[in-house]
């Protein structure tokens, strides 16, 4: 039990590592898609509410939980939440809180990666398409659909990505890749800033009625009518995006924080991680794909949809291409740059590929660590086990239309559900006073007292609204059978894995139903 665990050398190193992993396709691909699908300005209102009332508190909760689990030598969610729940209930009851939380985190990581790795593969493909000029002179919407229908090509770029990922994790070259992150990440930021500048001055490249500025207006004009009409759906989308982008509700933050010393700060570190990611998402990610999609809409969208206005048009692109939203809008900007656009586009998509790849490494590492720590499966074997799981989980994305977007919608739901478990277990069962004390242990900032009622009452309430409002339609209509089966299967595997991990380490105290191991 008492094993020596590594600790982070510097706090800023940890923050940059966390931000490096958080900044990825969630900012530049998923965020604009969600904004377009959910009424633009209508989405941003619950998005900021979710950031302030949920994102920041849940980030603190996960940091606290991770550091607490680390004291006992755990970096995974199941055993950590078992230990926290034990503060209020007997071990046998705590077991179930640990098992369900661990199950949700495990299944979520696999489900999310079943399509996230495809997005990384798309980025690799588009880097190639840019340098070869494959989409130049074509309708980028039609080109994207043609690409998805070419299963061999999709399989090739996705397959390369998954295999490279397994090699990177298996060979333990993650540290080397982190050195690359320090070069590639600033480069991505610089490229993104150049893109934003270019987009601001691009104006109306196709039709004077459709400009990039209209895209900014779409995002930043609150659309109260749309919000009122689709309240639960937009709230769920916004809440899910906050958790997705901040890597919350997956067990990854807890895993990182488990390598902290018992008196290392978590309060200020949590805020720093959030703000670095939000800069990449709102300031950069929000200023690229949507303005471009608006300006080039007359080239992509049929005239009858075009006549319905900007909200309808962006919603149409968002629903028609799903997570392909950025891949249908961005290439137009590179085409407009002429020959230089080939190089610029190739570099942009390569950087995007890299950003996604590093995020995927963090998740892959988590699952491998989970198999190693919880089930005693050796790292090199675990790496290949995860490769097979990823491969099988990702296959339906290629062959079943709409599967990716259905699983993505479910991921929003499950992220929100796990955040609710975060609050129930790591705050309520752990006891609010214990949580508050832990949060301030070694803290470099004092969290204002008024955040206490936010964490205790407002956050769970805000989580319940979309969960209760959406569960029926999500399971009943959005999800089709292949997605339902995949989710159920991952839940079963996650349940078994989580149950055995706790039972293995705490078998004796579960048998006696008394707390024996206490640090």
């Amino acid at each position: 039990m008492e094993q020596q665990r590594d600790q982070w050398a510097t706090k800023i190193g940890l923050i940059l590592a966390m931000a490096g992993n958080a900044v990825g396709l969630g900012n530049f691909v998923r965020f604009p898609t969600q904004v377009a699908q959910n009424g633009g300005g209508a989405f941003m209102v619950p998005y900021f509410i979710a950031l302030f009332f949920l994102g920041i508190p849940v980030m603190w909760i996960e940091w606290v939980a991770g550091r607490y689990g680390g004291k006992y030598g755990h970096g995974t969610l199941g055993p950590t939440y078992y230990l926290m729940a034990r503060e209020s209930v007997k071990p046998r009851s705590a077991l179930w809180w640990g098992v369900i939380s661990g199950m949700l985190a495990f299944s979520l990581t696999i489900l999310l990666n079943s399509y996230y790795l495809h997005l990384i593969g798309w980025s690799a493909a588009y880097s190639w398409f840019s340098i070869t000029g494959a989409y130049f002179g074509k309708n980028t919407g039609e080109f994207f659909v043609q690409y998805l229908n070419n299963h061999a090509e999709v399989m090739f770029f996705w397959g390369i990505t998954v295999i490279l990922l397994a090699i990177a994790v298996g060979q333990g070259v993650s540290k080397g890749i982190e050195r690359w992150v320090k070069v590639m990440m600033p480069l991505l930021y610089i490229f993104a800033i150049i893109m934003v500048g270019y987009i601001f001055v691009l104006g109306s490249p196709v039709d004077p009625n459709w400009s990039t500025i209209d895209g900014f207006r779409f995002i930043w004009t609150p659309n109260w009518g749309y919000l009122k009409e689709h309240l639960a759906a937009v709230m769920l989308a916004a809440t899910g995006q906050i958790f997705f982008t901040l890597s919350l509700g997956m067990g990854i933050i807890q895993n990182y924080a488990s390598y902290l010393g018992p008196k290392d700060d978590v309060a200020l570190s949590g805020i720093a991680t959030v703000s670095l990611n939000e800069f990449a998402e709102v300031v950069l990610g929000g200023s690229i794909a949507i303005p471009l999609a608006t300006a080039y809409a007359p080239k992509i969208v049929p005239p009858e949809v075009l006549a319905k206005g900007k909200t309808e048009v962006l919603s149409w692109i968002g629903h028609k291409f799903g997570l392909g939203f950025s891949y249908t809008s961005l290439p137009n900007a590179f085409v407009s740059m002429g020959e230089a656009g080939r190089l610029f586009g190739a570099l942009w998509f390569l950087l995007l590929w890299f950003a996604g790849f590093t995020s995927a490494i963090a998740m892959y590492n988590y699952v491998v660590a989970l198999l190693e720590e919880d089930l005693g499966i050796k790292r090199n074997v675990g790496t290949w086990v995860v490769l097979v799981i990823y491969f099988l989980a990702g296959l339906p994305v290629i062959y079943i239309d709409g599967y990716m977007d259905q699983v993505d919608a479910w991921v929003s739901f499950q992220l929100t559900l796990l955040a609710l478990f975060d609050i129930i277990v790591a705050v309520y069962l752990f006891k609010p006073d214990n949580f508050w004390k832990e949060l301030h242990e070694g803290a470099w900032m004092k969290v204002p007292e008024w955040y206490k009622p936010i964490i205790l009452y407002i956050a769970p309430l805000l989580l319940m609204i979309p969960l209760l409002g959406m569960v029926k339609s999500l399971i009943g209509t959005t999800l089709e059978w292949p997605a339902r089966i995949a989710i159920l299967l991952m839940w079963v595997i996650g349940f078994i894995e989580s149950y055995y991990s706790i039972k293995k380490k705490y078998g004796e105290e579960l048998e006696k139903n008394e707390v024996i191991i206490k640090v």
């Binding site: 510097t10 800023i12 300005g41 900021f48 900014f216 207006r217 720093a272 703000s275 900032m445």
Partner: protein
Amino acid sequence: MESWVIYMLFAWFVIFAMMYWSIGKLLKAEKAQGS
């Protein structure tokens, strides 16, 4: 200036300020701890 521009600039400013404050404070605290 249109109201959406003010809203956008305000949101950007808050994010910048949060980033500047938290990273600055973190670096300062780490430096103080190291010395």
